[in-house]
Symmetry: C2
């Protein structure tokens, strides 16, 4: 039933008559879908232009349509304002051109906050204004797994701290996908793993399955960081070295089918520079196709490998970064966001695990440490884990269940972040003091990282402070997940031009263990 | 005499006749200067276009000329190839147009290696192929000081480790430059500190004085990072808020006068974003003027303040960075160069000193530590110092003498760098092991920073290694400036896919003090 509310399908079949179903309604940021019978002969994926102009009288959106098999063409639209909308199709084929109609956009259902966009330069919000703090995870191949594994993945996600998931639109080449229980029977293109693919025709069933997964993720309130291209082809299937025309058509088709899902983020590629057949100009062009064809301006980025894509380019909405050292020492994460002046998500910071490859050997402590460093730098991080598992199922690849120690601590961090400044954690005085984030004057989160013990003097950077302001403090054990309010309160006075200190010069004895933090909140 | 060899002046006076002095010669990368009588009425700084085409038969350079007072116009040219050159002037004024001549370019004198350019993407070399490893210092206002202070500055530089100096083309507003012994009598523009400036006319004497200083620096073998604009105006003189036409003319005039000095680097501004009257588009335009007008492609960058200029832009040759945290922790410096894919010079990393402002409070140890972090990250750093001095003379501002403890240690580092890989120190395996730079397979510089003591296992990243290779090791005390060869030699064997270790599993006991390094060199 829930799905029905989200996707309203308007089917014109077999012959266009007068606009029907004008009472059809769809919720705000749901999907309105128009279906039309069109030319079924030849190659309907090529040479047929189709779009529709949707307007609420003030603004106009023009999503592309797409061929959905059986002679049917569809156009999907995500209305972003309640009330009456009308549309009219545009096509170079008579039977698809000039179709008109209306529908009503109803209030969003609970939990539907719309798509995510940038807020306050370095942060995010849903379109309804609700802050969105990404706590992502990585499940690259989950959509290609058995129904059972997929169900398990969704179950795991449901009780996890993760509200963003990165996964591939195109399967990677792996032996296990060629035969046995995981043999893939569907690919983005018509053909099979043993035949040649027909890159001019898309496999409808493949995309429908992907959309079903996308919808399941959406229903869990999780943003989907959909990865359009990937290098992992082992020189086999050719998905990493299709010609420009095919790449462009694939990109347009993906956008036409998926853009109306409000939880979609576009990740142009995973480890893009490992796709040696594509140049930076190719990536620019593919970015621009998405930018032009996506009517809603979904989040749009690319995940780098050895050559860092130029994230300053105007079509990049945020930095989807793979650079471990950006979250291994204080001060680096904030620098990245300042260089790009965009939100930064450290989308690969190595994985918690114990596999032979060192990118999958983080301890839980180190994973959580890196998460904290990301947040203290005013940026965001994405989780992944890779444990040697007898079933050969890795969370980062297949999904399934989580084995690591970091997820509960990431959930703990998420609670702290979400109950903190709604504008997002901002690094404070970070060119000198690198371990404070919050909101100057009212909220300070100090993170002590791997340092143990010591006496911490109550001392705050001067900005936004006035003498006499009072604060309370809580000692946070980020690993053991405890928050201990201190009995003392603190009243600040100016110590020098840079610092305010407690009037009574009170200090706090930190326990002899790492990963402690201090939360200072203004009370008066 | 030395100067004469560097600048060959060809004077056409008072009337153009036939080309004279065809036997005139100038050394390679010296300055050929052509002087012509031109219109002296009206404002000769405006409305007169003048340039000359210089060619050696293969390539052509077209530097702009400039008005040099007394009705004289000059064109300066820096030939970069030995042999015969000819030229012909181009002007919208008849008396300056179509003048032709020849001269001979002779071999460069000792110590003249030509201008600096980028080498190996992240490093530098002189145009004759000699590697150039910048070890810069900062003497912003030295050209505006008394002759005695300037002589002292030059003396200090002569015995310092510094081979690059950053200084201002435009004086900052300071009370002491208004009256008393340091009262400035010359400004870039006609006028004085108490009158209004005539921004349409340049002060010839001012520029000649600046050129003299530039020449003195050149004769010491020091690159001059000439800063064209600066924010430090206290709302007084107006040099930070001239209109676009004036800024453009000033930039063109500076390039016309100074580009033929081989040691010039262009720094568009110091702390550019503090110049609130200029937008990023303004900076782009000014950059493009320099790029277009400088025939030699001198090094060209800008020094950022709170908003980091987009150093990915094509006209930026290298990153002139002010971001202290980039050199306070392992791993950050290498990230900066990877983001920009250009050489990075950390041109402001705080200053060694004891002044009230915390940007001038580094200990000598911390300054040297930051230098090492820059170099271990495959980047470069610039020194500065600011000590409270009874004479009110600060090295970073006025020059004079050095008081700090870092310069000898920077000299020590320079010797290590210059005797290391000539292609420049490259970080090795830095995404995992952040403290090694050198050349994989033959040279490894490990830096232990603030860590003290411990047992260091002989362990090298696998790249370029083969079993049986032999190495020697030297323990370096970067603070006490000692290099102690270890008696052991080490033969490597493969330990795992990432590491080679010593066959005998030898380790090295590090002393219980910080700032140690280890140099590992292949012997067999």
């Amino acid at each position: 039933m829930r799905k029905k509310a989200l996707i309203a399908t308007l089917l014109f079949l077999p012959v266009w008559a007068s606009p029907r179903a004008t009472d059809l309604s769809v919720e705000k940021w749901g999907i309105f879908e128009l279906t039309m019978k069109g030319p079924g002969t030849g190659n309907p994926f090529a040479g047929i232009d189709l779009s529709a102009r949707f307007t609420d009288g003030e603004r106009t959106f023009e999503p592309d349509g797409f061929y959905d098999g059986d002679g049917l063409f569809k156009i999907r639209f995500m209305p972003d304002r309640e009330g009456s909308w009308s549309y009219k199709t545009i096509s170079n084929r008579k039977e698809l051109d000039g179709k008109e109609g209306n529908f009503t956009c109803t209030p969003p259902s609970p939990g539907n906050h719309g798509p995510v966009r940038v807020r306050n330069r370095f942060h995010f919000e849903y379109q309804d204004g609700t802050p969105y703090f990404p706590f992502g995870t990585t499940i690259y191949e989950w959509v290609f797994q058995s129904g059972e594994t997929r169900r398990q993945t969704l179950e795991t996600l449901k009780s996890s701290p993760f509200n963003k998931a990165r996964f591939l639109l195109v399967p990677p080449y792996k032996e296990k996908y060629l035969s046995g229980p995981l043999k893939l029977d569907k690919f983005p293109f018509v053909g099979s793993s043993t035949d040649d693919f027909d890159f001019s025709r898309f496999n409808i069933e493949y995309f429908r399955h992907f959309e079903q997964c996308l919808q399941q993720i959406l229903e869990l309130g999780i943003e989907a960081d959909v990865i359009l291209f990937r290098p992992y082809d082992g020189e086999k299937w050719g998905f990493d070295r299709m010609d420009a025309e095919t790449n462009d058509r694939f990109t347009r088709y993906a956008v036409a089918r998926l853009a109306a899902y409000r939880n979609v983020w576009w990740s142009m590629a995973n480890e893009n520079s490992f796709m040696r057949y594509l140049t930076e100009k190719d990536w620019d062009r593919l970015f621009q196709i998405v930018e032009e064809k996506d009517p809603y301006g979904h989040m749009l980025s690319i995940h780098n490998a050895d050559l860092i894509y130029d994230y300053t380019k105007p079509w990049v909405t945020h930095v989807s970064f793979q650079y471990y050292n950006a979250v291994r020492a204080f001060g680096a994460a904030a620098m990245v966001r300042e260089i790009y002046r965009k939100p930064v998500i450290h989308d690969e910071i190595n994985y918690e695990g114990n596999i032979a490859s060192r990118w999958g050997q983080l301890s839980g402590e180190e994973m959580v440490f890196r998460f904290w460093l990301a947040f203290i730098g005013g940026t965001y991080a994405t989780h992944g884990e890779a444990f040697v598992d007898p079933s050969d199922i890795d969370w980062i690849s297949e999904g399934g269940v989580l084995h690591g120690e970091s997820p509960p601590r990431i959930a703990f961090l998420r609670k702290i972040v979400e109950s903190g400044p709604q504008a997002g954690l901002e690094p404070i005085d970070y060119h000198y003091t690198r371990n404070i984030a919050g909101k100057a004057g009212s909220y300070y989160l100090f993170y002590f990282g791997k340092e143990k013990g010591g006496n911490w003097n109550f001392e705050l950077p001067a900005r936004e402070l006035e003498e006499g302001m009072k604060f309370r403090a809580e000692l946070i054990d980020t690993w053991n997940m405890t928050i201990t309010p201190l009995r003392e309160t603190f009243e600040v006075e100016k110590s020098n031009r840079y610092l305010f200190t407690d009037k009574k010069k009170q200090s706090v004895q930190l326990p002899e263990k790492p990963f402690m933090a201090m939360r200072i909140t203004r009370i008066d």
